[in-house]
Structure formats: C-alpha cells, structure tokens
C-alpha cells in the first residue's frame, strides 16, 4: 500500500478551504499551517501563466526528514506516510532543516508537526483527508497507488503530472496535475 495525493492545478482556485479544514480537523495552533496555497506567475506580460497549488508534506519515499532524525521520531507509517511520534521527538529541528519543501514546523508544545494525510483520524476510518473532502472544486484525489482502481491511480494514468523539486531526490507522493 502506498498512499498518495494528486492535486489538479488546473482546477484549484486558491480559496484556502483546504487550509482551514486542516487547521480545524487537526487542531493546528493559530498562526501555523500544515498545508498552504502557492501561486506561481510565470512569463512576460501580457503572456502570463498562473499556477495555483495547495501544498503540504509530500510524504516522500526517500524522506530526508526521516533519515536525519536522531531518535526515530520521524518515521514511515502504514502506506508510506511520514509521521512524527510526538513523545520521541526532542525538538532538535534537524528534520525541519532537512525538508526541501519546508513542510514541517515546530509546534508551540515543543515537538515537530506536519501533515499526516489524516491517517489515524480519517483515512483509517475509510474517509478522505480533510483537505480532499472539503475542496469545493474537487481538485484533489487521494488513495493507494498500488490499487489501479483508486482515484489517485486513475487520474495519474489519464493526466499529465509533475512532482515538486524531483531533483532533490525525495520521491514525493504528492502529485500535481498540469
């Protein structure tokens, strides 16, 4: 089993509903976020292109954050999701420095926190992650890459996609449809 997410940059309007849904679902402290919107404007005026992405931890297959964690607090969980065991984390910040996407933050309680794909609170109950289920344009797909019939496998077969900074060698599990 390999959990993955595909996000359609052609459909995303940057409304930030996913950001708020995540903050509510996961009790993210005020002033912090586990997912966020990025807008990239590219080109020469008036020929401008805009890409809107909802970003989060990529649950990398070759995750530098897991590699550099001295205690094993950062680890691979079921389906390749990358999680942090709070009571093992010493708050050294090595994983924060190691993530090329800056997807982690230091929780005010001391441990490090980030996107969990809502693994325990939703996915294991058969629901989609909060961000996926709330998106008003239905631009996100979640599922198991090893299951050819999952939403995410099907849409990745049909559409062109990219991952973020593939040259960093992290093998992301969040795909962007382009």
């Amino acid at each position: 089993m390999r959990y993955a997410m595909a996000i359609d940059t052609k459909k995303c309007v940057g409304c930030s509903d996913c950001v708020v849904a995540c903050q509510t679902e996961n009790n993210v402290p005020i002033g912090y976020c586990r997912d966020w919107i990025v807008e990239v404007t590219d080109g020469t005026y008036p020929q401008l292109e805009i890409e809107i992405r909802s970003e989060r931890c990529n649950h990398c297959e070759n995750a530098p954050c897991v590699r550099c964690c001295p205690t094993g607090a950062s680890h691979y969980e079921d389906g390749g999701t990358v999680l942090v065991t709070h009571h093992k984390c010493i708050g050294c910040g090595a994983c924060i420095a190691s993530c090329p996407y800056d997807a982690r933050y230091s929780h005010p309680d001391g441990y490090v926190d980030k996107c969990t794909f809502c693994l325990d609170n939703r996915v294991k109950k058969g629901e989609d992650p909060a961000c996926v289920s709330v998106c008003p344009t239905k631009c996100m797909y979640f599922g198991d890459l090893d299951d050819p019939n999952s939403d995410v496998s099907r849409v990745l077969k049909m559409r062109k996609w990219k991952t973020l900074i593939p040259e960093a060698g992290t093998k992301p599990h969040v795909y962007y449809l382009i």
Binding site: Y32, P64, G91, D102
Partner: protein, 313 residues
C-alpha cells in the same frame, strides 16, 4: 522580461520567510566541539608519539579546558532543543544515517575521555592532589597503564567529533549552501586550527609555541584551499548552489565572511605567525585569539547563511 513570481500563503514561525530554526546555540556548540576536538587531538597525538615532555602544554595543560567547553557545548545544544524533557530519547538509539545521532554519541565518548585525561594529569595543576580512596587510585593506575589505548581512542574520536561538526550541516540537501562534502574537512581543519591556537595561547614554552604556530600555519593553508575549492564546486554546480555561493560573492554575507573569517581569522593571523617565526617581536596572543575568533565566525556565518539558502520551486 520573463519573470517568475512565487507567492506563498504559508507563514509558519521559524520557517518563513526563510528557515531560522537554529540560532546562536548551534554554531556555538559546533565551535566548542571543534575546539575541544582540536585540543584533544594534539594531546592524544603527542602522547602516542611519546613527546609528552616536549609538548607539555598540549598534552597536560590545554586538555583541562576541554571538559568545560564540552559541557558548555552540550548545554547550548540542550538549550536549543524545543522538546527538552524528551532529551534522553537521543540516547535510546543510534542512527548512523543521522549525524545528529552519531554526533551525540561521539560526544558521549569524548566527554568522559576528556575527564579521564584531566584526572590523569591533575597533579600537573594541583601538585598536592590526593585521590584519597584506594579504589580511585587503582582505577587511575589502570588508565595510566592503558594510556596508549586511551590515546588512540581519543585520537580517532576527536577526529570524528571535528568532522561531525561539519557533516551535521552537509547532510542537508535541502539547504544548498550546506550541501557540500567540503564542510566536513573544512570544519575539522578549523577545529584543529582553533585547538592549536589554544595551545599557543596557553603555552609558556618557546619551542612548543613555535611548533604549534607552524602547524597552525599549515592548517590555515589547508583551510584556504578548502574554501576556494568549495566556491569552485558551488559555481560549477546547479543554479541553487550558484545562488548559495552568491550569498558570499556580493550577497549579504560577503563582508562578514571575507572580512571576519578569511582575513581576520586566517590571513592576518597567518601573516602575524610568519613574522613571529622570522623573529619579529610582538604579543604572542594576538594571532591565536584571531584564529579562534575566525573559527567561531565560520560556524556562525555558515549556520545563518545556510538557513537562507534554499530551493525555489
């Protein structure tokens, strides 16, 4: 003009607008670790070579500061942790992939060794010292019999400690400035140089001072070579590493780096040392203090600049 504008809605503390998770504690810890590694390396080396009497300060006196600086370093590291009560988790496992992990273990080897080293030489500082209990005397005698074994362990672990202070940074490919394997040898050299400088500073023996100053000169030359090599590597690499190098070549860190680290911390003390070796009289403490200052600044500047260097996507 073709442009790319990236706007992000993320504003997490310590992350945005650029990473600033590590503050003064980490570079201070790395400097103290490197300095202790340098001092203990020379102490072990001259013991193995049987030159304890020629290099009395290096072997018997300078090591007395290492337990203190190692402990201050560990306090600084502890200070920087954000989930302090769970500190002990660091010592429940060894993860060789994680420099933070094997570095912490290296310190757990080097720190007790530095205490043992001082205990064995305590009579040099306090001639009337008496261990009082018979069993302590027996333990001391045991260590004294095995001083060569201890020296070899110390030699190897001080090198590991010195190199670790650089590898801690270079293991992060997310920060292009840090992601160069030159940082390991460069920080090791900088630690050895600071160690040699500390010995020059403490020594009252002319022969020892001259020898250590000569060694320091060679190490400074190696450091300058490594720095040039590092920039050549960056400039011949990908755009993110070119951008990282530009932080020092016209960017915000240009003056602090070239002035404090290279000029004041390496070139100037090297000139002073050469003049002194040629027989010019000058206060002998200026060059070693500058070398140690440069070594400290190197850590600070690399730590802070590295957190500003990133991938843009």
């Amino acid at each position: 003009m073709k442009e790319e504008i990236i706007t992000s809605g993320r504003m997490n503390p310590y992350i945005d607008p650029h990473l600033n998770i590590w503050h003064w504690q980490i570079p201070l810890y790395l400097f103290l670790g490197g300095l202790a590694a340098g001092i203990l390396f020379f102490a072990a080396l001259y013991t193995i070579q049987g030159k304890q009497d020629k290099y009395r300060t290096a072997v018997k006196i300078a090591p007395f500061i290492t337990p203190f600086i190692l402990i201050i370093g560990l306090i600084a590291l502890f200070w920087d942790l954000k989930h302090k009560l769970y500190f002990w988790q660091l010592y429940t496992t060894i993860r060789f992939e994680s420099p933070m992990s094997w570095g912490a273990w290296t310190l757990m080897v080097v720190t007790p060794l530095s205490f043992i080293w001082c205990a064995l030489n305590i009579k040099v500082i306090f001639p009337d010292w008496d261990w009082k209990f018979q069993w302590v005397k027996e333990v001391e005698a045991f260590f004294r019999r095995n001083i060569l074994v201890i020296s070899w362990i110390l030699l190897i672990f001080s090198l590991i400690l010195g190199v670790y202070t650089g590898i801690l940074f270079s293991a992060f490919n997310a920060r292009p400035l840090w992601n160069t394997s030159i940082l390991g040898p460069l920080f090791l050299a900088s630690g050895l140089s600071a160690g040699a400088a500390a010995i020059v500073l403490l020594s009252k023996d002319h022969f020892e001072r001259v020898q250590m100053a000569k060694i320091d000169l060679i190490i400074i030359a190696v450091e300058l070579f490594l720095i040039i090599h590092m920039f050549m590597g960056f400039l011949a690499s990908t755009q993110v590493q070119i951008d990282a190098a530009n932080l020092f070549l016209g960017g915000p860190y240009t003056t602090p780096f070239w002035l404090f680290v290279v000029m004041l911390g390496m070139v100037f003390p090297a000139i002073l040392e050469i003049l002194e070796l040629r027989g010019y009289k000058m206060p002998h403490y200026i060059a070693p203090i500058l070398v140690m200052f440069g070594s400290l600044m190197l850590r600070f500047i690399i730590a802070y600049a590295g957190q500003e260097s990133r991938w843009l996507y």
